[in-house]
């Protein structure tokens, strides 16, 4: 029996066009619902506050928050220019993030490759890790003062443990056959680390970097709450002192945008590094 192409059998081009159309319409649906939900939430918030169902003084409302943001960007805040305050927080977060993740990765790989060191340090790492990081803020302020250093220290400690734990696990999960293969092919310890261990731990490390920039910002802002001259944390703190709810929400919104931008950059970087990974095939049905 031969198979004939009749009208009911679509050609490859038709199939592809159909799949493309389905994909576009699905995407449109997703965007539609996303927008709708956002508008609904903001709209009902605004409405509830305006009709005083909720207290507009304590809950603020989208329009006043927007107003505060506008005011901050055009006229500056009580603590000086918004950009300067944002820069202070960013500087603290970035320094904490980069130092914390770099040292976290190094420590994770070093301990992951050395059983004895791992067993010895496991106790101390568990001990320090059991401390809720934010309680260190007052101590860091006492030790490092009100300036940059105390916030970077807190950011660092928030980031370090997450990245360390993942790098360590990533090293441990490296495929045994692949390691044996590299060894027999002639890799030295250092070559093995460079060519096999680090690349295979990379996906674990990236997973931790995604969350840890958020942690770095938490560290910086909590540090600013405890004591600082400038920064987004200070803006929130001052807004709290003057019962300025709109100011607090405005500051939160700024942090949100920054964190999202960082996440976007991280994903782009990760995609570039993880090109070798298989992509799941599309199921068009």
């Amino acid at each position: 029996m031969s198979i004939t192409m009749d009208a009911a059998t679509p050609t490859a081009a038709e199939l592809e066009a159909k799949a493309q159309a389905l994909k576009t319409s699905y995407k449109r649906k997703v965007y539609f619902w996303r927008t709708t939900i956002l508008v609904l939430i903001l709209g009902s918030w605004e409405l509830a506050a305006r009709t005083e169902v909720i207290d507009p003084f304590r809950y603020a409302m989208p329009s006043t928050i927007w107003g505060r943001l506008y005011e901050w960007t055009t006229e500056g805040t009580s603590e000086g220019s918004l950009w300067y305050n944002l820069w202070v927080t960013m500087e603290e977060s970035l320094l904490g993030f980069f130092s914390g993740s770099a040292i976290g990765v190094l420590a994770g790989i070093a301990l992951g490759r050395n059983q004895l060191a791992a067993d010895v340090f496991a106790l101390y790492i568990k001990l320090i890790n059991s401390i809720p990081r934010v309680v260190l803020a007052p101590i860091f302020t006492v030790i490092f003062g009100l300036g940059l250093a105390s916030k970077v220290a807190l950011s660092f400690i928030m980031v370090f443990f997450v990245v360390f734990a993942n790098a360590f696990q990533g090293v441990r999960e490296a495929d045994k056959a692949m390691i044996a293969n590299a060894r027999i092919l002639g890799a030295s310890d250092w070559q093995l680390t460079k060519a096999v261990i680090v690349p295979s731990a990379m996906s674990w490390i990236f997973a931790s970097l995604h969350v840890s920039f958020g942690f770095a910002i938490i560290g910086a802002i909590v540090g600013e709450f405890v004591g600082a001259r400038n920064g987004i944390g200070v803006l929130i703190s001052v807004a709290k002192g003057t019962f300025d709810s709109a100011g607090m929400f405005a500051a939160i919104l700024i942090v949100m945008v920054v964190a999202l931008a960082a996440e976007y950059i991280m994903t782009a970087l990760e995609n570039r590094f993880a090109k070798w990974k298989p992509q799941a095939a599309m199921d068009n049905q």
Partner: protein, 268 residues
């Protein structure tokens, strides 16, 4: 001395500790001799300790008793003359085909240009020249095995250890890979230990077949396979001599497989 065997295991016992602290015996009083240029196959029931023999030769495991000698000398660490093809995919997934193939020479300090030139040569030999820049996940299972073969052969191993290398491939691809392997091997004539649970594969490829007992493994019997080379692996299984020897070895192996089977059932 020209008649020094390439690999010698003398009365080797290998014990190891299970996670709950009990001592398990993988090999007991194990004797095996592989001459230079000889192709030896090791068959035995699943889980009997076949792979342990290979790890003893690489130096990844140390014998609990007895002696392992490679090229007449004791095994100290990983020997540069040894090549190993794994059962699982041991290619580096983040490196493309050519970068995988040149890994060995680069680890061993060959200049880059020379390593890549050799790499291209080996890729041509396994028929993958066109796929140089593809990543392992873009290749079929058979192609990945070819890359693994090129990756191993480029180091010009004098001893080639293979741990069920083709067990994950479908039957047709496997038979193609057998031909490929014998072709590559006939060019460099390494001493081979090929571990498999597939008796036909063992006979089709090897000069000598070791039948192991159910674990703890020891050599039950050794068979010489006197089929002429070069062999046509695809057709050899219908050869009258092949069938005869295959029947004889299977009689021997069958009882061990049954022992292993009944033990597994007891555990389950």
């Amino acid at each position: 001395m020209t008649d020094t065997p390439a690999i010698e295991l003398r009365n080797v016992t290998r014990q190891f500790l299970s996670p709950d602290g009990r001592s398990l015996v993988a090999l007991r009083d194990f004797n095996m001799t592989v001459a230079k240029g000889e192709f030896a196959a090791v068959v035995g029931p699943t889980g009997c300790g076949k792979s342990t023999t290979l790890n003893l030769v690489t130096g990844l495991f140390k014998p609990s008793a007895g002696e392992v000698r490679v090229m007449g000398g004791p095994v100290t660490g990983i020997d540069k003359r040894i090549g190993f093809v794994f059962q699982t995919d041991a290619l580096f997934p983040w490196r493309n085909v050519i970068d995988n193939v040149v890994a060995g020479p680069l680890f061993r300090g060959t200049p880059k240009a020379q390593a890549y030139a050799e790499g291209r040569e080996w890729l041509a030999r396994v028929g993958l020249s066109k796929f140089e820049t593809l990543l392992p996940h873009q290749l079929s299972g058979g192609m990945r095995k070819r890359v693994a073969l090129a990756q191993t052969f480029i180091n010009k191993p004098e001893i080639l250890l293979m741990d069920e290398p083709f067990s994950a491939l479908d039957v047709q691809t496997r038979s193609i890979m057998h031909t490929e392997l014998l072709k590559l091997w006939s060019e460099n004539r390494a001493s081979v230990v090929f571990v498999t649970h597939d008796l036909e594969e063992a006979i089709a490829l090897a000069d000598k077949v070791y039948v192991l007992t159910a674990g703890p493994a020891t050599v039950k019997s050794v068979y010489e396979v006197k089929l002429p080379r070069p062999r046509n692996v695809a057709d050899i299984r219908y050869d009258k001599d092949f069938i005869a020897i295959s029947k004889r070895i299977w009689e021997d192996l069958k009882s061990e497989v049954q022992v292993a089977q009944s033990r597994q059932e007891k555990v389950a």
